[in-house]
Symmetry: C2
Subunit: 101 residues, 2 copies
Amino acid sequence: MDRIFQALADGTRRDMVERLVSGPASVSELAGSHSMTLQAVMQHLKVLEACGLVRTEKVGRVRTCAVQPDGLRLAEAWLSGRRTGWENRLDRLGELLEPDS
Amino acid sequence: MDRIFQALADGTRRDMVERLVSGPASVSELAGSHSMTLQAVMQHLKVLEACGLVRTEKVGRVRTCAVQPDGLRLAEAWLSGRRTGWENRLDRLGELLEPDS
């Protein structure tokens, strides 16, 4: 979980995830759509791959990247659990303050 | 957004958010429930406050901390948007592959 949130704490990596959500892409396609060097893209990909948000596969000379949704789901579930907990507490407070409503 | 994900990329800070979801707490209460020094708690609080996930207020000698839900909502919305995008793409792929279903 640390590594997922850490990977998402960078705007370029979030953009890369966003791009890959619309379909797999090669490393050069990712570099092109972000005006980055291949080396910079590879470094970000390494972070995204290490935490399981992205999977890459090399066929011949082309490395193709795809989003792995489980990491997104895990982080989303943590956040939505906390938000729900907070809303439930507000509801209980509301009931205590206005027992008739 | 960078700072929110960065703040959540630490297990202790996520635990502190989790604790504060169930209600406001003083710095010493937070320290006690995490077996941490006050100084360590203050450092984590600084990060959580800077990105807007937590608000602290000092009254007399006691600093009270409370969760600010907007940051959680923002991060959750980003993740759920990406997940939905991914699921929609899968649905479209499914329709392409099995047009009769």
